[in-house]
Amino acid sequence: MTHFISISILFVILSLGSCSETHKLIKVKEIVFNAEFNPRLPSSGTFERNDSIYYYLTDVATSKKVNVYNSAGKLIYVVDLHKASKILDGIDNINMINFDTLFGFNQAQNNLVLLDYQGNILKRIDLDSLVDHRYIFRVSTKGTFYKDGRFYFGTGIPNNQYRNMGSMENRKYNGRLMLDLPPLIEFSSLFTNEKPSFKLLLPGYFGNILTENDFFVEASYYSFTDESMIYHSNFNDSVTVINLKTYKKKLYQLSSNFSNIIVPPVPIDSLDRIPITNKLRCYGAINQILYDSSQKLFYVLFLLDTHGNEEGQKSRETSIAVYNHDFEKLMEEKWPLHKYISFITINSEGLILIKYDEDNYIPKQTKKYTYEIYRYKN
């Protein structure tokens, strides 16, 4: 009888287990890249060619080079950026799309350059000269900015205002100005023989989500599916999907199981960016959205409410959620992001998380960057 009861209990436990959530993020691969520098991660990434995947780590600041690796972590070649950096008076960002095609960007001059695998500048474009003088924006290359021959940049406050930030009044004025600016600009035909053109996307977007004037305007982020651009801001729980052929927009609201993810208005009460950024760090937010085209799903990195983080000392609580193509949530789990560098990327192998290595600050020593690749399994 006792055996019967024990077996029954065990059976019930096992049945309950099989009914529970089985959706998981499974680690499928780990690659270690060695570099002699600290890379700028938004300028580092991955590209694919002839069914092979390649990775690149970029240091635009100090050693001025791009290391290109195969998918086993072996260094294949190095692109030297010294020459181009000198000509442009610095390169802020690199986007590598093929073995011999790199785009470099200089933010101060709004210059975009096409580079070859030796780091030679093949073409240099002054973006300001392409845009109507009323729209002289600073452009930002944060995130992916190239797709199918078109370049996408976030817009900032006008160049002529940027250096004029010395007072609270100017800061507030620029904050108000940004509310009316379209946050995205699309350039096409930049490196062809056709006449380049530009289009302003999402006019009034900031105005839609911010209802008062004196709020600190933080950067917005975008990524791509095969046919659309995905757009979100730190302030908001909604995600905009823009079809890149029709420019039709769809709005989806996301939520986390573990936290509110909407940032309340934060007043500009300081000219110093850090205290304001630290205030924002107390609130949950959508940090990154990446599309997995092989599985047709989205990975969303949520930053969770981290109360008491006004000094910016605490590690952020985070979770990773997986959504289907229609933004229906499939799973969400808390993630120990303090063990990783808070920058994630994706390729056809899966979601890539880069492990944090405390020893990577040591100079003149080979640094180790461990990429963990995860795939969603149901």
Partner: protein, 151 residues
């Protein structure tokens, strides 16, 4: 009324003494963290300790870094970095001939807690004299004050 004034003064004095003590203990912690790189020296042998961060206001960090490039190999102070420079160009600090640049992990520096962003600690008679953390709204004044004290 007079007694209230004395009390306030005593409280202020106590706060100053406590904060000096706190900052002194932070210097001790920093010295411990940098002991291998300091070799036989003590942080108290120096007149200033500067830290160039890559977080926060880029222009401010860059201006401060440019100013400190003139202090490379100074015997009066040390420059602390937490990376080989992925946002700012630290190549001048990385040269083999440089003697007063030291490295610490960001986590460790945060634990020490003496400089949370780019800034400089001036020491006087083995005590913390002044701490200047670089701020965008007062950048020019701060840089000229630092330059004046470094010269």
């Amino acid at each position: 009324m007079k007694f209230i004034g004395i009390k306030i003064n005593l409280i202020l004095l106590l706060i100053i003494l406590v904060s000096c003590h706190v900052e002194k203990s932070k210097i001790d912690l920093l010295e411990k963290a940098l002991s291998t790189q300091l070799k036989s020296k003590s942080l108290k042998d120096f007149e200033w300790i500067a830290y160039v961060s890559e977080q926060g206001c880029h222009g401010c960090n860059e201006s401060f870094k440019n100013l400190l490039e003139h202090e490379i190999n100074s015997t009066k102070g040390i420059i602390i970095l937490t990376s080989s420079g992925s946002i700012l160009d630290f190549s001048k600090f990385m040269d083999d001939s440089v003697t007063n640049v030291m490295f610490i992990s960001e986590i460790e520096l945060r634990k020490v807690g003496i400089l949370k962003k780019s800034g400089i600690v001036f020491l006087s008679n083995i005590q913390v004299d002044t701490i200047i953390e670089i701020q965008s709204d007062n950048l020019e004044n701060q840089l000229s004050e630092i330059k004046r004290r470094l010269d």
